[in-house]
Structure formats: structure tokens, C-alpha cells
């Protein structure tokens, strides 16, 4: 039996990283971790915070449902980012179009004035 140090009623030092990775989270939901690994993940449950809430919430769904939803959300996120990128490019393109039009008009006016002067 271990020393009672680990039983401290607090949340620091128990977790190898400061975030539970999606891969480990899904493996925990799938039940594919060893008891020791399960215990490691469940240290998050003993605390209050993002991981604890998430593990509790996801446990109410089938692992396949979680995977599907996460995949869907990531796909939507990528689409949103792509859309924003295109919108920005389009805005930039519009900006350059207006500058080009302004230059052409300016040249036309200058040419008109120059021709008028020579006549």
C-alpha cells in the first residue's frame, strides 16, 4: 500500500499533463485502457474542472456517438476557418479591384487633360 501522500484532497501533481488528450479520453470511454491507466485518467474525475465535467458527461453517451460528434464538430470548425479565409481573400481582392479602378480613372482624367491641352 502506498504512503498516504497521494490521498491529499487536492488536485495538483496527479496528472502527467495539464490536459487530458482526446486519444486517452476516447480510450477510457472505450474501456481499452489497463486498470492502472484507467486509474490515471480517473484522477481527473476526483477533481473539479473541465476534465471531470467532460468525463462525466461523455460517460452518458456511447463512445461511437462521442467520436461521431467530435468528428462532426472538427469538420465544421475546419469549414468555418476555410470560409473565413476565403472571405478575407475576397475582401482583399475587392480592395485591390477598387484601387485598380481608381488608378485607371485617374489615368483617364490625366490623359484627357493632356490631350485637351495639346489641342
Amino acid at each position: 500500500m502506498s504512503e498516504p501522500n497521494n490521498i491529499l484532497p487536492f488536485d495538483t501533481g496527479n496528472h502527467a499533463s495539464n490536459r487530458l488528450s482526446e486519444e486517452i479520453l476516447i480510450a477510457w470511454l472505450d474501456g481499452s485502457l489497463s486498470p492502472a491507466e484507467q486509474h490515471e485518467v480517473e484522477q481527473w474525475l476526483a477533481d473539479e474542472g473541465m476534465e471531470s465535467d467532460a468525463l462525466e458527461g461523455l460517460r452518458s453517451l456511447k463512445p461511437a456517438e462521442t467520436k461521431k460528434s467530435v468528428k462532426k464538430l472538427n469538420h465544421r470548425l475546419r469549414k468555418t476557418l476555410l470560409h473565413k479565409k476565403h472571405s478575407r481573400r475576397k475582401a482583399n481582392a475587392d480592395y485591390f479591384t477598387w484601387i485598380a479602378i481608381a488608378i485607371v480613372l485617374l489615368l483617364a482624367v490625366v490623359a484627357y487633360l493632356a490631350i485637351r491641352k495639346t489641342l
Binding site: 498516504p4 482526446e22 492502472a36 484507467q38 473539479e48 474542472g49 460528434s69 467530435v70 464538430l73 468555418t80
Partner: protein, 189 residues
């Protein structure tokens, strides 16, 4: 967003920094994608509905992309968690008109500070004694989890408790233990 894998090794803060210096939303995308599953889990816990949870996460993504975290945010994960939880609580309030007290019950404990860390070390000696003052379920759950390193599954098999009971006994046991130790320290000082 899947081409360059260099972002995997970057910390949240480095990704945020990369976003700020380049103004490229893709860095924020990498950062958010790290938390998709966790955010979804938090939303499912509070909203108790898969579709509502998906919508809530989607809204948080849009919120972060349209109003990215400002310079002085040094804990992105904590910031994101609070954003997600508050969004869910607001939805619940809108839907059920839950009271402020109910909403307060969802608030997590605060992070420990240096003083508390110091106190923790001082109270280690009194741990076993304080354990005997807990109720049977909490003592058993804490002992099986922390001392014998059992998984929740093993604790459920050994005790017959449900998953939520194990979670609750461990969380409440930890909290009670803390109060007992604090009280003891105060009495001695």
C-alpha cells in the same frame, strides 16, 4: 488544418502567440481542436442532450474565432472551460429559469495558491486520523482509489456503488478531508 503537424508539439500559449503574431485563424483552429472532445463532454454534462451540446460547442467555436482571447489570458484552457460552462448555464437559465443558487452549485473549486500548498505539506501527518472521521462510504472510496490505486470500474465491482456514487464519494470525501485538516490546523495554531 491537417497538413502541417508541427503544431502538435506546441503548448496552448505558443499556439496563441503564433496566432497573435500572424493574425492567422488557423492557429486558433489547432488550439480549439485540442479541446473539442472536452468541450463536448462539458456541454453534454450540463445540457444532457447530444444535439444541444453539439450546437453549444459550435457556438463557442464561433465566439472564440470572432472574439479571440485577449493578451492577458495566460490560461487558455481555464478561460475556455469557463466560457463553455457559462454558455451552458445561460442556456439552462433561459430554458428553465434556474435560480442563482443552482447555478452557483456548478461552480468549480478555486485553484490552490502557495499558502495552501504549504499548508498541505504540514497536514500530511494528520491524514490517517482525519480519514477515520469520514463516513464509511467516503473513507472506503478514497482508500480504494488513492491508496489501493483501483480504477472506478474496480471500485464499482468491489463495493456495488454506482459510477456517480464513486465520483461523489471521492469528491466529497476529498472536500471533507480538507475541511477536517483545516480545522485541526486552526485549532493547533
Amino acid at each position: 488544418m491537417s497538413g502541417n503537424k508541427g503544431h502538435i508539439t506546441l503548448t496552448d500559449e505558443e499556439l496563441l502567440q503564433a496566432y497573435r503574431s500572424s493574425d492567422n485563424n488557423q492557429w486558433l483552429g489547432y488550439l480549439l481542436q485540442r479541446y473539442t472532445a472536452l468541450l463536448f463532454g462539458v456541454a453534454v454534462k450540463y445540457l444532457k442532450d447530444k444535439s444541444l451540446a453539439e450546437d453549444a460547442v459550435q457556438q463557442i467555436f464561433l465566439k472564440v474565432l470572432s472574439r479571440p482571447p485577449v493578451e492577458d489570458i495566460f490560461n487558455f484552457k481555464g478561460w475556455l472551460y469557463i466560457l463553455m460552462r457559462n454558455h451552458c448555464l445561460q442556456q439552462l437559465r433561459d430554458k428553465n429559469n434556474i435560480s442563482g443558487d443552482t447555478a452557483l452549485a456548478y461552480l468549480p473549486a478555486t485553484e490552490p495558491d502557495d499558502e495552501e500548498m504549504q499548508w498541505r505539506e504540514q497536514t500530511l501527518d494528520h491524514m490517517n486520523e482525519a480519514m477515520t472521521l469520514l463516513n464509511e462510504e467516503q473513507r472506503k472510496a478514497l482508500s480504494l482509489f488513492y491508496l489501493e490505486k483501483n480504477s472506478y470500474e474496480q471500485i464499482i465491482a468491489k463495493t456495488g456503488y454506482t459510477f456517480m456514487q464513486v465520483k461523489s464519494f471521492i469528491q466529497n470525501g476529498k472536500r471533507n478531508l480538507k475541511h477536517l485538516l483545516l480545522k485541526r490546523t486552526e485549532n493547533r495554531s
